[in-house]
Symmetry: D2
Subunit: 384 residues, 4 copies
């Protein structure tokens, strides 16, 4: 870790914390040529930024992201801002020649995303969108098994992401901590926030999606807005479910909601192949369920694999077999992979371009929810 | 059990066995005025019928169902035939003034079903369609909780029924044991066979469905037909998934397939309400999962209720707390309820009319799979 | 099933019901030469016996077991009486030349049991003790796997049987439904009632036990006696735990209690071998947990085998894959095996002699709980 | 975090890593007056120490622990050494007036431990033994519930710690990474390594233990020693199980082994009380199982509490509800509690004295395994 990688991180919210933690920890566990240095934290709220800097050990504080981008001592800009700011900041960062890590979703919609991809690729800067669940070891193991052909022909994919934190009518929308409920800031509700995760994983594991057919619902039609103080129409989708077809011929169902009582962050997926099936659940993220049809008949059963052994993805870096890691570690793995991508010139995904593909699926989903028809998914294709 | 209820059962397949078992056992466990007597078994294959009679203790054998219906000593006709024969036999039985229990689905489609309902109601005979899963104690408990309002406003319903027994290309279609793969006999594939169960439970638990949007797939396009010996086009749906909206404002997803490796008969449903959620799984049918938001915050969790206590539905009739019953018991409960309906003049459901409602949902699902649009569900409404 | 097997069953309690159900059902599912006929039910309470006869279809009623034994038309005596009556009735039945099925435990202690074995073997009558859990398909599958050597050298065996139904101080002891709490009738508490099951399974699966070291406790020291109406000292063990060593070098722990809040009938066992491990749980009796170390490293995990397939023990007799059977079916299997033993002259176990071995372990356990030392287990050995 | 807490850590093994990680992270998540500073790492292997310093950011390197203790700039000595070195180093550190955190077990036996307690208490330095599992949020929640009286009278406690990493005969003993198999270094096998954890938790949750009755086994009698290169007798216990009685009248079973195929680090405990029961499992450490008998009868069931909410112990410091933390976090919590103990003058446990109590239980267990009798547990009692 002889080379310094000077990080300027923008945004002091929940995601600012997960990314800061990753920057601080990655060299303790991964043997890398680069060492992230917490050079600057930026937030329009100066007091918040200063406190954050103290807690996490950032060397300096900025309150204007343009000032941050103008600094010569920043190599990597880490965007942990609400969705509506991704486009402007990312394009400016690209023009300033900075490497970029951007929180998901890439943007509020495909149009914004396409502009970002164009700018980033023109600038030729390393880039990554933080769909962190790819780097949960159990999910990475699923990817290995699929790529090795263990499942054979895929028939079914199903995913859901269920939460229950917005059921109360008294919860306001907008402003601090609640911008995800404000459609102007978030772009959409569960589609961009939660289904985007499901879609990213699905495209990674199961390839390209061709058509979708969706429904959305907003259960609570009006909520007080924190910024205006007025009761305003809720513009986001509280729930979204859709049917889909993949290029490989498999069928899929996707569902997300913030009104599923009893589930905090229940992201699950299951894939059924000719020879084997796989299932995973974020609430027990250290386990992969695996069914192998080629096992002896009497002894076939879903295996609950405790993904904590040294031969499991990433796990040789941590503790000893049987001891769990958690949510935050996915960001450490992501950063390690990003850095290894720099070292090897084989960029880690999902790049902005990969994330645009997810954005196009979201667009098709939201369109279908309006038209009531099957909608084709637009594709950006590989980098030309 | 002073009154005899003379049963004529038609069909010696898997369902003939489950029904025969129920007739033989019901009085051992339930205190009823009527006692089913296994008067006659009927199957066009006389040898099969004779063997079946010996195994199950039927007093006589018929090879022509019309002859059975003509007998004066038969009170109740129990139809355990393939779907394509339900209509003709049921209507004739009604005309002969027999009580009728009919295996699900009611018919191959709504048109057949409507004719059956008309005939049955004209004849005024007691009738029941065997959607047996309503009578799994855990499912009946779910019904109690919903009816008591424990869940509050319902936001989501999701159900699936996953199997894996038709993945092999070498499996033929049609004929003995495989008529469910022959569209002319079955009417449809997983929709009428498996989703019909999910829909019946859903209508019972969550009320009327208004619109649906579906996709179907036939993964193996041609299979050898057992009767013709030729490779023929497969007409059934191997898989079907649909989105739905209920009259109570809740959203739903349904899915069924016979290509989900690792699942034999995984019928699951989950209901998310404002105050509580419920989930159930046929593979562990003696458990109900229950989440109660009004529990103390720190101690909220999904409760795995072992539905084997004396205060659970039907369970005071069986063994002692902690000891499981199984699949076949749902048919015993159904029969007990049917007989109690006779005694109290409050017919147990689902009646033919109730089952027609399920048939109409299936029709809308299959239509939507063709049109690619949302389709309205037709309703027969309550008995006029 | 051309030959009639005339059954005289003694005792109308819970076990009388499970045995009657087995006699009534066995020929519906198993192809056997013999057909049990419910010839006579016997209970000292005549009214109870008459009602039981009506419910279950017994042809006649006796109120004196000696009268029953004197009848020429009885082939098989099925003893479903409290423990204190096993010895006298069984020995008399043997002298009368009857086949005998006896509920577990064999007797109140080894001395009684030895006398019974002597008499039964002298008479040369077919005999079986109803340790029914051997015939849960998942448990039988475990036996197959061990006998095939899949586990290799065995290191550990652990079993427990936890209940919670006697925690209330207000529960009386003795008399109807509660004789298990009366030491004079039961012989002991959880040791003879629950641990006897665990020990029978363990001896069957893991071979002979050599030494034990136990502790017992009676949490509620006095309870009202239902027969005397007086508060009397409680003589049974409410809880018992013991360490053990098996002849094969493996170590074991056993525990049973009726004071484990939250468990109705949680009988679990686990066996750890060099190459594989097995675990089972009565609360989900249709599943076997299996860990195979020879699986590929990354993909090792406990397999949850849904023991409902056609190649699982007994399961080809029942329904279709994925559909559970329950507790009562173990008695049907036991009876089928007993009858097949008659047909083949290879008696099904556990015979009275096998059950005496279990009794000797119980004796050693109860002795050790008094001496505070390791006690050797007495062995009766194979039939001379 | 205005005050610096200069840390000198001794030992670069697995535990050196977990402690270093805690020192680095604690201020990112906990608002504390003290900030640990990684002042010096000490290991007799200088190259190893230097590499460790680079990875973790220690400011300096020592190869002689006496030199470390002599430094004025060290406030806290963190002992991550094999068991045989705990006594000498800890006593010297106490004499040098350093605060001490010591890895568990306190020592190889109670005699060593008593000497340590005497020295530490004479010096009056803050001290803690790293029984980290107390600080898993689910375990801390269990402690809260018990202390609040939610369980009522306790009847049963059962714990086990199962591993499978020493089954191979080819595994050597002694030396780097394998000192836990060398009795001279470790003092004992699973008793001091694994059961010590179970005992610490049990004493904390369930109070004082009075008597024990144990068995131990060494399955592989001889192994090659890494340091001598010779095949030597194995002196440690490969497995240990014991019965115990607590002062509160409850009964207990404890078991540990490294020969339980299929379990990497399966530490589980269960407590059965009059009103409620609790169970926990290290393999799913973020869940607590809770059964509440006072729930409505029909709806009683084991609750699977996902201990990730803001009102769960420690969890307000981490991410958002539903997102797991893992093993390493228990060390961060422990350090935060240690520091808060400094701030409030209410020392966090387990202190050396608390840990001596665990050591005395281990002594009684190992003695009983030799004598074959019940042995009384010695008590050190509270600090005089």
């Amino acid at each position: 870790m002889s080379k310094k990688l000077n990080v300027g991180l923008i945004g002091c919210g929940f995601m600012g914390r997960t990314h800061s933690n990753a920057h601080r920890k990655v060299n303790n566990f991964f043997d890398l040529e680069y060492q992230p240095v917490l050079k600057a934290i930026c937030d329009c709220n100066g007091g918040k930024a200063a406190a954050f800097a103290k807690t996490w050990g950032f060397e300096s504080v900025e309150t204007d992201w343009k000032a941050l981008l103008a600094r010569k001592d920043i190599d990597l800009v880490d965007i942990c801002l609400p969705n509506n700011l991704h486009k402007e900041v990312a394009i400016a960062a690209a023009k300033a020649g900075k490497m970029i890590i951007c929180e998901k979703p890439l943007a509020r919609d495909g149009q914004e995303g396409a502009a970002m991809v164009k700018a980033i690729e023109k600038a030729g800067v390393p880039n990554l969108v933080s769909y962190n669940y790819r780097r949960i070891p159990a999910v990475t193991l699923a990817k290995q098994l699929i790529d090795e052909g263990k499942l054979g022909r895929i028939f079914h994919y199903r995913a859901k992401f269920l939460q229950d934190w917005t059921i109360s009518k008294d919860l306001p929308q907008g402003g601090d901590g609640l911008w995800r409920l404000d459609v102007k800031v978030a772009g959409s509700g569960v589609t961009g926030d939660l289904l985007a995760h499901c879609i990213d994983t699905a495209l990674w594991l199961n390839g390209s999606m061709t058509t979708v057919n969706a429904m959305t619902e907003t259960f609570i039609k009006e909520r007080k807005h924190q910024l205006t103080g007025k009761v305003e129409k809720v513009g986001i989708d509280d729930a979204c479910a859709f049917l889909a077809r993949f290029q490989n011929g498999s069928l899929a169902t996707f569902e997300s909601t913030r009104y599923a009582r009893g589930h905090k962050a229940l992201y699950t997926f299951e894939i059924n192949g000719e020879h084997a099936s796989i299932a995973w659940d974020l609430h027990d993220l250290h386990r992969l369920q695996y069914f192998e049809h080629r096992d002896e008949g009497r002894l076939r059963g879903w295996r609950s694999i405790h993904v904590t052994d040294g031969d499991h993805p990433y796990m040789d870096k941590w503790w000893v077999p049987g001891l769990q890691i958690g949510y935050e570690h996915s960001f450490v793995h992501q950063l390690a992979d990003f850095i290894q991508g720099l070292q090897t010139n084989k960029p880690a995904g999902p790049t902005f371009r990969d994330a645009l593909e997810t954005q196009y699926v979201c667009d098709a989903v939201l369109k279908s929810a309006k038209t009531g028809r099957w909608e084709k998914v637009r594709h950006c294709g590989p980098k030309p």
